[in-house]
Each structure stands twice: as C-alpha cells, then as structure tokens.
C-alpha cells in the first residue's frame, strides 16, 4: 500500500530559508550552510589549493595542519509534528494546467516538494502521469516567478494594491462599466463560486473562459447534436476499433493520461489476454498517437473533412470511391463490423466536421457505449467566438476592467497586436499569473498567484469526479492565491481553504452519505479524491441534422496546395510551462529534437523545394523556421509546434524556438490549427537542431522485436524466434552467479509503451539528472538515464515507428564492471549494477564497453559539485539556489568527470526494504516501484524481484514474448522486453 501521510501543512510556520540543517540539498547541505560556506570560500581554500597541485612530499606537512570547515546543524525552533527530518511525506493533490489533468501525490522532504507521483486511487488517471505533470514541481522553483505584487511595475503591498483595485472596481461598477474576468477553463467548483461571488459584488462582470488549446468545434457540434455544449467522456478501453482523424489522444488531445490508460488496457496481451483493439489513424504530420497506430494513413489536414464525409458515405453504403482516402471503404466495413464497440474521434475545431463525426458515431451506435454524453469531460470549456468578440470589444473601448487570471493572450492569441491595443483601452487591467509571462507587462496590477503546490483548490474534471489540491509547501514568495484576491476584492475577507470547506459542506457533503463533515473532509483530502457517483441524469438525445448537406459541402481542395499543420507537442505543450528546463530538454518522441520547434516536411516536398535537414524556410513570410525531414509526413503538409518562442518568461524559454501562434488561422472567430494554401520559401542559412538520436534505422538488427496479433495468436513467440537459437549458444567458462533473496529485474511491455516521455522527466526528478542545454545535446552529451529509442521501419513515405525505452540493463555479466580499474562499478548481491560516483575517476572505459550505451559522463561541472570554483556549466540555471530545492536529498549530485547511470532507483529500493524491516515483514511484490514505472501512464514498466516466481516481473520474464536486447552477448541483462504486437487486420 501507498504510504499515507498526506495531511494539511496549513499551520506550518517555516519558510524555505528555514529548511535548515537537517537535510540538505542535493549535495546534502542546507541553503544556509551553503551560504556560510560560500562566504568562507571567498578566499581560496587551502585544501583546494592542494587539490590543484596534487600531493607532494612537502604538502603532507601542510595538510596535517589543515582544518576541516565547521559545519553547523540548525534545528527547528519548534519542530512541526508533520515533519520528520530526513523522511518523506506524501500529500494528495491535483495537477491541472488548463489542458492536462492528473491526480497526483506530492513527495515532500523537509518541507519542500521534490517529486510528483501519480495517485493510484484516481479512477481517471490511475497513478499515471504525464511529462508535464512530472515536471510541474520544477515550476514551483522557477527563478523567474513573480515574487511580489506589482503596481505599474513597482513593488507594492497587498493592502495598498487591494485598496487601489477595489476603488477602481467600484468606480467602474458604479458607472455600469463592463468588467471581464478572463480565465482559462475553470474546473474548480469553488473557484467558480468565488467568481460568482465576485460577480455578485460587481454585477457588470462577465466571466470568459479562454482556451489556447480549444475544443470549441466539439462543443458547438454537440450543442447542435445534443442541445448542449459539452465535451463527452470517451471510453477507449471499450472500443475494439478506434478511428482517429488527427486526434492525438495519447499525447495532447483533451485528457491524454486518462485516454492512454484506457487505450493501453485494451492492448496489453501478457496476462492471458488474446484480444486487443485496433487503431486506425489518419493525420498529416506524425504524431505520438499516429506513431502508435496499427494502421496510419497520411491525410492532408485540408482534406480531413472530405475524408470524414467519405467515411460517412461509405458507412451509409453510398458511393465513396472519389474521396481522398482510398482505403476508406475498407475502414467503413471494419467499423460496421464493430458497431457499438468502435470510436471515431477527430481533432478538428470546425463544428461542421465534428457534426459529421457525431453522425458517424451515432450511426455506429457508439453513444453511451464508447462515448458517454451523461458524464462530461469538463476540460476546455472555452468558446473561441466569445473570446474573439471580447478582443473586438476591448478594441472598441467597451470593456473598462479586465482581470486576467492565468491566461497569456499577448503570447498565445493569434492576433497578439489586437490584444495589446485592446488592453490599452481598458482602464483597469489586473493579471494574476504564477510564472513570468508576456501579458503581465501590459497590465497595471500584477497580483502573483500561488503555484498550485502552494495553494488549496478543488477540481471537477468529469461530472461527479472531484479532486483536491492542498499546499505542500508554505508560499515561497509574497504571493496570494488568486481566489483569495478575488474574494478580497469582492469584499469577503476569507481564507480560500475555509471557502472551499464551506462550499463543500453546503453543496457536496449532504449527498455524500457521511455523518460528519469533518470525517468526510479529512478522508477526502487525505485521498485527494471524491467520486460522488452522481451524474447529470438529464438524458441527452441525439438530434438529427442535415448531414448529407454538410457532406456535400466537404469538397476536396487542390492537392498541391501546401497545408500548415500546427500542433502542441508533449513537452512544452501550449507554451505555458516553456520555462522548464526538464521539458525543454525532453526529446520529442518522434523527431528526438529538443530545445526547439521546427517545420517538419516530407521527403518529397523537401526534394521539390531543395530542402535538407536544418535548412531554413519561411511560412507565409513568418519565421524563419528550421526544417526537418520527417518520414511519414504527408506530401504537402508542413507541421510546426506551438508553445515556443516565448519572450518574457525566463532564460530556458526566451528565444527558444519560434512563436507559431501568429500562424493560427482565425475563421469566424474560431481558432484553426490547420491552414490550407500556405506559402513556403527557402531562405539562406541553416540552423542546428539538437537531436538525441541521429540514426533512425535498426540496420536489420533484432533490437526491437515485433509481430502481428494474428501471428502471435498462432505462435506466441512469433517475432522472437531467434531467442531460442541464441539461448542454445549461451555458454561461459565460469559458473553463473546466483542471487539469494533479491534479484531485481524490470520487464518492459513494448506493446504498452506509447513514448510519452513521462518516465524520462520522472527519472530526472528522482535522480537529480542534470540538464545540459542545447549546446551539449548537439554534442550528443544529454544525461538522461532512461531514453526512448525510436526506429523507422518499412516504407520511408509512411514508415512504421517502433520504440523502446532503454536504461541500464543491469547485466549480471556486465561488461562495464570488468573494465573499471578502480572498482567503481560492481555488482550487488541483489543483481544491481552499482555505480559508486565517489570512487569513479572517469576513464569512461565502462561507457565504451557498454553495448547499450546507457552510461552518461559528466563532461563539465553541470551540478556545481566540483571542487574547483568557476568552472560551472549550467546554461539552464538548474544550480541557482531556488532551483536546487527540487533536488532529491537521497541522491548524490555528481561532480565533473564522473560516470553516472540508472541505478534501478536504489534509494527507493533501500527505503522500501527499510520500511519492511521496521515493520517486521517480508517485502511485497509491487511495493518497490522505480520512478519510471511509477510515472508510466500505461504501466509498461514493471519492476520486481526475479527470485520470486509469483512476482509480476518474473511472470513477464517467463512470457514467450520476453526477450533481452543483445542477449547473444551473454551479458545476462536484468531488463526484459515483451515483443510489440500490432493488430494488422480484423
């Protein structure tokens, strides 16, 4: 069972400056101690001097008189009961950034959150996380955060600011002037109540939700089809056949962590299952979801509507030959065979297209089977047209006051100029940001909000499914929760926690069946989750519309026009979290590029325009954008990621990539990421893109083994036949070592891994993996302990993409161990390939001799752990004092010149073993979870004791699909892979 320590930290009387003594930053020193030492080190330390010049005979005498620096231990004045120094507590919370939603646990050590883990109790995310959720803890320690309230750019006190704001609000309200509250999608019922309270005080207030990742089209289509604008909840786990029109539901579409979990539950084969879903994906660029599809068809975005119309016609048995997709009749047949258990989804923001999709799903009987209209997904409630209208009104001077809460339209609204000019016409402009952003430099009052790990909140992501956020740390800076600000301006002096409590007591407690509210509240806050089970009972009936008319209108555009396909990638997403070095250094799952966005083109288009990788092009006279040739890209489609090119957000995002939001097409007030008929021009020069993988073919080697479902059912080891042969030849002159007690192993189901990269960020956070910056990635020196290899296979125009997470394989006959001259890397008696950083002298021999190339070398002083001063290499500012607070104190930060690598999260193993010892019991299977396995939304990674034949990992090792990479070398890896199975045909 998960440890449950999550209690309120409300009464905590510490501040981060007091996180003293005990423990310790990554290099296991307190901030204060660091400062003190820094002071002492102003003069060159004598010991450093000696280190510089090495040991000579004479120096021994000098050394003998050398004193150790004095280290202090400063206890708390009053030690809070919740805190046991040196021991982690977990608090349930929720990550929601307007698009991604995750129910999480926050790991807190000595009063500071250091890691995000998934909350297994959640029925929605089930313990899975996304890369962004994992990385969100670093935003807490963003050294560019607003640290205090600002009036006209000058520091002010909250009370002074409140006075000025209230005066202005009352003045506007008195004259009947319009006040607009602009927020992203709010799924917090209490926050909505706060806004309602605010509107009550200032009746001219209108609340507008603005999503830069919009689902306007779906909402509008549903309004027509069902009479209510909503996003339904989808059930990919119930779908046997999924047809997706460019909906990247595993990566960025609506609720990817939830969808990943559902999708994968229907694709795992090892636990006695023999069926899996089939997934057909039609898209222009190569997306994460497309790369996982059983069948991927390149489809130009501008022809999407026509293709959907073609599918509709095929389904109603009409002629469908002249559509853009030749395979459509076959797809239609498959869909008809899977009536009621299929799901057709589409990412279009065009409501007409979504209407046809609705019609198709209705035709196939998918409503209330794989799509639930009673339970609504509450993300993306924004309406593009309303926002567009607001901008017009602003420019017309019709809005007097505007409160921008957690939105950044100056950056992410396509017509940024109009936003700026409009803002200038409002007499009162307030922003409530967390991270530094562009819009706040155009407002009068900046009222910095708490980071979500510092604040209370509640969420209702789906009808009846509630989660909470609670503070895991006392506010680091002089910030105030946005809700409290609003309440204050509304004249209600109230703590937001109490407000939530009251709201819940009044609205949600009565139906909960609990006798006392305190019991109800404490239990739910502890779990972080409350499933009321109450859904909107209103039946939604499908209303027939003139689909034929719409289908008729969906004409095929000129094939040779070039389409621009803008998308959100899985690292920085909409750009809100761009100033996060972990995310910036995260390689894209498809192109393996980090620290930049780029225009992906097809080989054919590149040939036509004479382009090669890293050339520059302009798109509609904007840019220039570097080019990457992407296999599988539709011939005439150029894909470009949004979320880059921030201007005022901090060093790790400013000027990284190019802002593509101006290229978003505004049509009838709707945002469209796909634009037809763009003009591209090659321009002189080129631009280097940092790529973590530069060779894309497996060269025919049996590294990632795959098969098809059909073959698998006949022969379970299909695709893995070579293993039998290899095993026969494995011989050694030495007897095989055996391991008593524990023999740790890891099994990875390649069928489940979708390449979402959550494991990489989780690993970096858990193990203090340094961020090295673009220049070092260009030199192929990224430090990630786990990487996801991806290879292309087959037809270069539409290749199959296969991927494989690779970390240290913990070989029992490890080639690296034999060659280390100083015994810095050895094998533990639990089968772990150990690396003692402090013994390493950095010959890199182990790295050379590792067939998997998973060892990483500290080429520079990335962590400031080196004994020399003045040679720090930290372009991402990861070693500034504030950012250092995220370091895991149980893991040493590695100095310059040292090899490091995956340790199977040894600190977690040791900690769990100790818990078991103290509790006087045996370790339970599944109790030890590595950071990567914990983070995985699809549970592709299973960790455990191979000696225990009943453990999940041992069972997976016994599976016919299991194999070890490069097993023929007889290195006896402790990591096994299960072959990837594709469902190629019905």
């Amino acid at each position: 069972m998960e440890k449950k320590y999550y209690r309120s930290l409300e009464e905590l009387t510490i501040n981060p400056d007091q996180i003293q003594d005990h423990e310790m930053l990554g290099d296991k020193k307190s901030l204060l101690a660091l400062e003190q030492e820094a002071k002492k080190n102003n003069e060159p330390n004598r010991r450093d001097f000696l280190k510089l010049f090495g040991f000579t005979v004479a120096s021994a005498a000098v050394v003998a008189s050398c004193e150790q620096p004095v280290r202090k231990a400063i206890p708390y004045l009053i030690q809070p009961e919740e805190i046991v120094p040196g021991k982690a507590s977990y608090y349930a919370s929720t990550f929601f950034d307007g698009t991604d939603y995750c129910s999480i646990l926050v790991k807190v050590r000595d009063g500071r959150p250091i890691k995000i883990e998934g909350n297994k109790l959640s029925a929605i995310t089930g313990g899975g996380t996304s890369a962004r959720a994992q990385a969100s803890v670093l935003n807490l320690y963003d050294n560019y955060r607003y640290t205090k309230p600002l009036v006209q750019g000058e520091e002010a006190s909250w009370s002074e600011m409140d006075r000025q704001i209230t005066d202005k609000l009352e003045a506007i309200s008195a004259k009947g002037g319009k006040i607009v509250m602009l927020t992203p999608t709010i799924i917090s019922p209490s926050t909505k109540a706060v806004i309602a309270a605010f509107s009550e005080k200032y009746p001219t207030t209108s609340h507008i939700q603005y999503d830069n990742v919009s689902a306007s089209g779906i909402r509008k289509a549903n309004e027509i089809s069902f009479g209510e604008a909503f996003v339904p909840s989808y059930h990919f786990d119930k779908a046997k056949l999924i047809v997706s029109f460019d909906a990247d539901f595993l990566g960025t579409w609506l609720s990817p962590v939830e969808f990943t979990r559902q999708y994968i539950s229907n694709r795992k084969l090892h636990e006695g299952k023999t069926t899996m879903s089939r997934h057909i994906h039609l898209e222009g660029g190569m997306s994460l979801t497309g790369s996982n599809a059983d069948k991927r068809i390149a489809l130009k975005p501008s022809q999407q509507k026509a293709a959907i119309a073609q599918l509709y016609l095929a389904l109603i048995q009409q002629s469908s030959q002249n559509g853009p997709v030749a395979e459509m009749p076959a797809i239609a047949n498959e869909l008809l065979d899977a009536k009621g258990t299929s799901l057709v989804v589409c990412n279009s923001n065009d409501h007409e297209t979504q209407l046809i999709v609705n019609a198709i799903n209705q035709l196939l009987g998918n409503y209330e089977n794989t799509t639930n209209t009673q339970v609504h997904l509450k993300v993306r409630q924004g309406n593009d047209q309303v926002m567009a209208k607001l901008i017009d009104e602003l420019n017309a001077g019709l809005v007097d006051g505007i409160i921008l809460y957690d939105v950044n339209p100056v950056y992410d609204y396509p017509e940024s100029d109009k936003v700026i000019s409009g803002l200038q016409k409002a007499s009162l402009k307030i922003s409530m940001p967390v991270l530094r952003e562009e819009t706040s430099s155009y407002v009068d009052f900046v009222c910095p909000d708490h980071h979500f790990l510092e604040s209370w909140n509640d969420f209702e992501v789906k009808t009846g499914h509630y989660t909470f956020a609670q503070p895991a740390i006392r506010p680091i800076f002089n910030t105030r929760s946005a809700q409290e600000s609003l309440l204050k301006w509304a004249g209600k002096e109230k703590d937001f926690r109490l407000f939530i409590q009251e709201y819940w007591e009044k609205n949600l407690f009565p139906a909960s069946g609990y006798l006392s509210f305190t019991a109800f509240w404490n239990e739910k806050i502890h779990d972080g989750i409350y499933d009321s089970g109450i859904i909107d009972p209103k039946p939604l009936v499908y209303i027939d519309t003139d689909i034929e008319g719409l289908v008729g209108k969906a004409s095929v555009l000129t094939a040779s026009d070039i389409d621009l396909d803008l998308y959100y990638n899985i690292s920085v997403g909409n750009g809100k979290h761009a100033n996060n070095p972990w995310l910036q250094e995260l390689p894209d799952p498809i192109t393996k590029i980090c620290w930049d966005n780029y225009a992906a083109v097809s080989q054919k288009l590149a040939d036509e325009y004479g382009l090669k990788d890293e050339d520059l092009i302009t798109i509609n006279q904007t840019g220039p954008y570097p080019v990457i040739i992407q296999p599988g890209q539709e011939h005439h489609t150029v894909s470009l990621a949004l979320g880059y090119g921030r201007e005022k957000s901090g060093k790790s995002s400013e000027g990284i990539g190019v802002n593509a939001y101006p290229l978003v097409k505004m049509e009838d007030g709707s945002r469209h990421l796909q634009t037809a008929g763009v003009v591209i021009n090659k321009v002189a020069g080129n631009y280097r893109l940092a790529r973590t993988q530069t060779h894309h073919s497996m060269e025919g080697r049996e590294i990632v083994r795959d098969t098809t479902l059909q073959e698998y059912l006949v022969k379970p080891n299909s695709g893995n036949e070579v293993r039998e042969e290899i095993k026969k030849h494995l011989k050694s002159i030495y007897p095989k070592k055996t391991y008593d007690g524990f023999h740790w192993g890891m099994a990875i189901d390649l069928n489940s891994c979708i390449g979402c990269n959550a494991c990489i960020v989780a690993c970096s956070a858990e193990n203090n993996v340094p961020v090295v910056g673009k220049e070092q990635v260009l030199m192929a020196r990224e430090m990630h302990w786990i990487r996801i290899d991806r290879y292309y296979k087959g037809d270069p125009d539409n290749p199959e993409l296969i991927r494989q997470p690779v970390m240290c394989q913990h070989c029992d006959n490890a080639p690296c161990e034999n060659v280390c001259p100083v015994a810095a890397t050895t094998h533990s008696n639990e089968g772990i390939n150990q690396m003692a950083y402090n013994r390493c002298i950095g010959t890199r021999y182990c790295n050379n001799n590792c067939p998997y190339k998973v060892r990483r070398f500290n080429f520079f002083d990335y962590t400031n752990a080196d004994s020399f001063q003045g040679n720090l290499y930290d372009p991402a500012e990861m070693t500034v004092d504030l950012r250092k607070l995220v370091l895991n104190p149980d893991v040493t930060t590695r100095a310059k010149g040292v090899i490091e690598k995956c340790s199977f999260c040894i600190q977690r193993i040791q900690d769990t073993k100790l818990t078991a010892k103290i509790e006087n019991r045996e370790l339970v299977d599944g109790e030890v979870v590595t950071a990567c396995a914990q983070a995985c939304p699809s549970q592709a990674i299973v960790f455990g004791n191979l000696n225990d034949t009943e453990s999940r990992v041992a069972k997976m090792f016994a599976d016919e699909r299991n194999y070890h990479v490069l097993e023929e070398l007889h290195v006896l890896p402790s990591v096994g892979y299960l072959t990837k199975v594709k469902n190629t045909n019905v």
């Binding site: 280190k51 510089l52 090495g54 040991f55 993988q693 530069t694 060779h695 894309h696 073919s697 497996m698 060269e699 025919g700 080697r701 590294i703 070092q776 030199m779 192929a780 020196r781 990224e782 990487r787 991806r790 290879y791 690779v806 034999n818 060659v819 280390c820 001259p821 100083v822 015994a823 013994r839 390493c840 002298i841 950095g842 010959t843 890199r844 021999y845 790295n847 050379n848 001799n849 067939p851 190339k853 060892r855 990483r856 070398f857 500290n858 080429f859 520079f860 002083d861 080196d866 004994s867 040679n871 290499y873 100095a895 310059k896 010149g897 040292v898 990479v965 490069l966 070398l969 290195v971």
Partner: protein
C-alpha cells in the same frame, strides 16, 4: 674471426678507439648550434600549448574535448597507443637484437632507448589526462587505505598501469645500466670541474674493471632476456584494452600479435625519422650508416607486412564469423563516414612500406625519411580507426554518433610531440647518443679499417 666479406662495414672511416670517443662525444661539447636552439624553442612552444590544453582539460573538464555519450575515447587513447607503439623500438632493438646478436644495433640502441623512455612518458601522460577526475587518479594504485578498498585486477586498464610502469622502469634501468660506462667516459673527458662532479655522480663510480664488465655483460644479457618478453607483453596488454571488450571491431583475438608488430613497425619508423636527421646534424654518418638504415628498413618491411596481413585477416574474420555487428563494423570502417581515415591508414601502412623491397629506395635516405613519416602518420590513423570507428557505430543504432576533435585535444597531442622533441634535444646534449663502449667492442669485427686489414 670470420666476417662476411659481402657485408658493408658498420662503422665507416679508419677509426681508432680514441677517435670513436671523440666523435661520439662531439655533440655534447661546446655550445649548441643555432639549429638546436631553434629546435628546442619550437618544441618548447609546442609543449606550452600542451600545458594550456592540460589546464583546460583539468579545470573545465573532458567536455573541452569532442567526446560524447557514445564515443568515450578518441584522440586521447589513439595518442596513447601511438606513443606506446613508438616506445617499442628502443627496447626491442636493445633487447631482442642483443639476444639475436645483431651487431648493427650498437650504433642505434642508445638513442632508440632514450626515445623509448621519452615516448613512454608521453604515452603515460594520456591515460592520466583522460581521467575525468585526474586529481583522484591515485585511486588506480593498490595502496593500503582506510576504505578497505583495492583495485579491480580484472580491468585491462589496470593491467596497463602495471605494464606501462614496469616497462618504463625496466627500460629505464636497462638504459641507465648501459649508459654507466659511457658516463664514465664523459666524466673522464670532462675538463670542467662541475661537469666532472655531476658526471662523476651519475657514473656511479664506474672504472671499467674487468669484474664489473663481466657482471655488466651478464646483467645486460639477463635484462635483455627479461625485457624481450616485456616488450611483447606491453603492447599485448595494451591491445587487451580493446580485445577483452565487447565492442565489435575491438573484440578481436588477433589483436596482441597485430599490435606488437604494429608497435615495432611504428617504433622503427620513428627511430628512422629521428636518426636520419640526427646523424646529419651531429655528424655521425660514420657510425649510423646506410647499412644501419637498410637493416631497419628490412624490419619495417617485415612488420609492415604483418600489419597488412592482420588488416586483411580482420576483414576476413568479420565476414567469415557471420556476426552481423562485426561485419558491419568492418564495412563501416572501409565505407562509412570515417572511410577517409581508413584509407589513409591502408595507404600509409600497407602500401608505402612495400616500396622498401626496392634496394634503391631502402638505401635512399630521403625516401626512407619520407616513408618513415608516412608510417608514423599511418600508424596514428590505425589507432584512430580502431578507437573511433569501432565506437561511433556499435550495437544499438540509436546511439550512433560522430566525433570531431577540438583544439584542446589537438593541443594535447602537439604538447606531447613538443615534450618528446624537447626531451630528445636535451638528451643529445647531455648523454652520448651512441653507446661508445659497445661500438668499440664491435669496432674490430665490423669497422672499416679492420675489414680492410683482414682483406689486405
């Protein structure tokens, strides 16, 4: 005593013992020439560049080099193996040729041994500087410590430590024991008091007593007997760095003999490069004759051919083994992105030495000098090809990368070249470059005057 009448004399000119002494000591006498000063200035400047590069490496880290996550070794180990190879000629000449009673070694063994020692020092520099944490480099020695921790005797790198240090130590005493009688000569010829005192100290009190000579001969012979397998073992062990690994292109059983012959090949080339210049500059043409050079060229043909055969054998085995990784590694060497390095190696090491089959070429000083330079270059590239092209594309294509050296790496290489020439130039001023006593001992049997005497 029978002397083959066909053989050219090993010492030209009608020399007597006194003349021999005078001739050989002449480079040490008087003020150095301006060429010597120019040479040492140039070499010193190069060594300074090495010092700068070392500072960069130690202070800022190995990141100042062009290495990456896949390629952990490149110029560092290339240079290391190259220098160790060069360091093979001296002891080979002294020890193995002594055991085979090759008289022609007497004129060249001293300087070749000195070259060996300097080259080993240069070689030893690279394993040190390539450590990420040089200041903790002492961890590599098995010394008693409060950690209760020793070293890993399985590691070829540790074997290297033992092999290189033993080789250096044994070569040093071999060289010095041989040098003692000559230092005695220098002492006795010295006119300056300080000089006399210094050389007197260094000569260990040598008098030329018959008993001493008798024992001296014994230990020379036994040391040669010990040094001979040592020479062979050193490069064998260096080759284990690669041969015992799992990387395709490294994991090759042919490496020990292949490396040893390559080492002798490159060592002789370097000896030739140096001596062709030295004999001219120091006016030692009578002692280092074309005859010597031709003999060395013959060894170059032999070892060069062995190396060539080794290259071909590797290729054959890569194909014949049927291991796809191995096959690819060799295909990649010859036709991959580093093919240019491979073909430079093939040209310099396999084709050029074959020109020595022509007597005209092998007795031409100019041709020999040029070819010796080619062999030096070729052997450097051989190591580069082995180290870098094997690593840059190994098992998992996802990790394949390319490597490009940086100025710091070039600086380190240039620095060791500078150090090498600086020390060599100092050596020719400080010690006799030819073993005086040994030349005297063969003067009668191989000297020109004596030959004439026998035939007249």
């Amino acid at each position: 005593m029978y002397v083959s009448p066909i053989r050219e004399p090993l010492i030209r000119g009608n020399k007597n013992y006194s003349q021999v002494t005078k001739d050989i000591l002449s480079p040490m006498a008087g003020k150095p020439s301006k060429y010597w000063y120019m040479g040492i200035a140039l070499a010193g400047a190069a060594a300074l560049m090495g010092a700068w590069a070392s500072y960069e490496t130690v202070f800022n880290g190995i990141g100042t080099w062009g290495l990456n996550k896949t390629i952990g070794w490149a110029w560092d180990i290339t240079n290391f193996v190259w220098w160790v190879g060069i360091g093979h000629a001296g002891t080979f000449i002294s020890a193995i040729l002594l055991l085979f009673r090759q008289k022609w070694r007497t004129s060249i063994n001293r300087s070749a041994e000195a070259m060996t020692l300097i080259a080993i020092a240069c070689a030893g520099f690279f394993p040190l500087i390539h450590m990420g944490r040089l200041l903790l480099g002492f961890f590599i020695f098995p010394y008693p410590n409060t950690r209760d921790l020793w070293v890993n005797f399985n590691s070829p790198l540790l074997w290297d430590v033992f092999a290189i240090s033993t080789y250096f130590a044994v070569s040093l005493i071999f060289w010095y024991v041989g040098l003692i009688p000559d230092i005695g000569t220098v002492r006795d010829k010295a006119t300056n008091k300080i000089r006399k005192a210094i050389y007197g100290f260094l000569s260990f009190g040598w008098t030329g007593s018959a008993r001493h000579w008798s024992r001296h001969e014994t230990i020379s012979l036994v040391l040669a007997g010990l040094a001979a397998p040592l020479v062979l073992s050193v490069h064998t062990i260096v080759s284990f760095d690669f041969a015992t690994s799992v990387i395709p292109g490294w994991h090759t059983t042919i490496f020990p003999p292949y490396f040893v012959s390559g080492a002798i090949f490159s060592g002789f080339a370097m000896v030739l490069t140096l001596l062709i210049v030295a004999r001219k500059a120091l006016h030692l043409e009578d002692y280092i004759t074309v005859n010597h050079i031709e003999s060395m060229n013959k060894i170059i043909i032999l070892t060069g051919s062995i190396v060539g055969i080794a290259y071909l054998t590797e290729f054959f085995m890569a194909w014949y083994s049927g291991v796809e990784y191995e096959t690819y590694a060799f295909f990649n060497r010859a036709f991959g992105p580093y093919a240019w390095a491979y073909w430079i190696m093939m040209t310099c090491n396999v084709i050029t030495p074959q020109l020595f089959w022509f007597k005209k070429i092998r007795t031409s000083l100019v041709a020999t000098f040029i070819i010796s330079i080619f062999v030096n270059i070729g052997m450097w590239f051989e190591r580069f090809v082995i180290v870098v092209t094997s690593l840059h594309r190994d098992y998992l294509p996802s990790s394949w990368t390319m490597y490009k050296p940086t100025l710091v790496e070039v600086g380190l290489y240039v620095g060791t070249l500078g150090l090498f020439f600086t020390l060599f130039l100092l050596f020719i001023r400080v010690f006799p470059v030819i073993a005086i006593a040994e030349v005297k001992s063969v003067l009668k049997s191989s000297g020109e005057n004596q030959k004439h005497a026998h035939h007249e």
